[in-house]
């Protein structure tokens, strides 16, 4: 049951902590995000640096890098996703248990970045899987990754378990598997997953 925020803070001052199951559950989830140990390119080195002594991701409960997707909550797509690698990335994401989150770390993972004109480079991993947090940068500083992790934690805090706005993972009617692209003769097939990738038609007005 929802509770009035002002009443809650009032009670907190008096030393009484009130919470809901949902909040408790989200609090537990946000402080034990286990990322998939999955480095693709340059950004992976900054990801390792974030996990090492100076930046120490363990302070956020996210140091347990899991080699197996079955044990991971968070996929940090750290680096360029090539067309050759894209099916594997989607397959790994499919293998992760719900609820799962994706951070696109660095320019390449967001949009293909500096390499986006290359014939083997996927223009952004969000063509195939939904991305929760984007970090621009090439590569982003370790602090930027930590900042994204905090952003994600705040997002997890606001997840709903029931009701209309409940998380996709708790909705049985939602799809849990994403389409794995196949290698085609000239390109990936399909080149984008229309269920995930729905950019609105955008036009830049011609210069007058």
């Amino acid at each position: 049951m929802a509770m009035d925020e002002s009443l809650k803070s009032e009670l907190q001052k008096a030393g009484v902590f009130v919470t809901s199951i949902e909040q408790l559950y989200n609090w537990g989830r946000k402080n034990s995000i286990w990322p998939l140990q999955f480095g693709l390119a340059c950004c992976a080195i900054e990801m390792i640096a974030t996990a090492c002594a100076r930046y120490d991701m363990a302070r956020f409960g996210a140091e347990v890098f899991r080699p197996s997707p079955r044990q991971a909550d968070l996929m940090i797509v750290a680096g360029t996703v090539t067309k050759k690698m894209a099916p594997q990335v989607v397959r790994l994401f499919n293998q992760m248990p719900e609820p799962k989150y994706v951070i696109a770390m660095g320019a390449c993972a967001i949009s293909g970045g500096p390499f986006k004109e290359g014939y083997n480079v996927l223009k952004g991993i969000d063509r195939y899987i939904p991305v929760d947090v984007h970090i621009p940068g090439c590569p982003p500083r370790p602090e930027a990754l930590l900042h994204a992790l905090i952003t994600l934690q705040k997002q997890i805090e606001q997840d709903h378990l029931t009701g209309k706005r409940k998380l996709r993972a708790y909705d049985r009617e939602q799809k849990a598997e994403w389409l794995v692209p196949a290698y085609g003769e000239h390109d990936l097939e399909p080149p984008r997953n229309p269920e995930v990738w729905k950019p609105e038609p955008q036009v830049r007005p011609e210069a007058k």
């Binding site: 002594a53 100076r54 930046y55 120490d56 302070r59 320019a107 967001i110 949009s111 293909g112 970045g113 500096p114 986006k116 952004g124 969000d126 991305v131 929760d132 947090v133 984007h134 970090i135 621009p136 940068g137 090439c138 982003p140 500083r141 602090e143 930027a144 930590l146 900042h147 994204a148 905090i150 952003t151 705040k154 997002q155 950019p199 955008q202 830049r204 007005p205 210069a207 007058k208």
Partner: protein, 192 residues
Amino acid sequence: MLGNGLLQGLVVTARNFIRSYFDPERLTTVQYPEERVTLPENSRSFPFLVYDGTPDNLRCVACKICEQECPPQCIYIEVERDPKTGKPVRRPRVFDIDYSVCMQCQICAEVCPFDAIKMDQVYELAGTDRFGGMLHDKAALLKSNEYYHQIRPTEADEVDARLSQSKKKVSPPIAKPAAVPPAQPVPPKTDV
């Protein structure tokens, strides 16, 4: 003796562990959100546009050199035109930088002959919106010369000295205040 090397290694780790309590050499962790690494003056993240005084008085003259030289081609410039005569005015109407493509290479700042584009030091830009949050237009890119002085004092002083010297030689055309608002206003970024 077998196991000697193993023990020696354990001694090293034990020494590190104990010294981490009092030796800053061994305890290097920066408690990030509360405390930050002091960035060196040269440190760079993304480009921004410098203006003097008011945002209307920006240094950029829309010469498009940075647009041509940008290796990942993430800059887009349109020259502003006089609404009456249709002649180009020396200022940009649209100046967009796509942060989701920018590779932070500093080449735009290097080739700019007017010292109009410089590198920022902000790195906390993570956001949930790929297009809206990552595409920065002129309004979002403009930052004052004071801010530039704040992040890079030495370099900004040099630039100011150089600019005032060249001003003495040729007085630049007075830029007109912006008549047209930026074509694509970006919603204010929500810093989470």
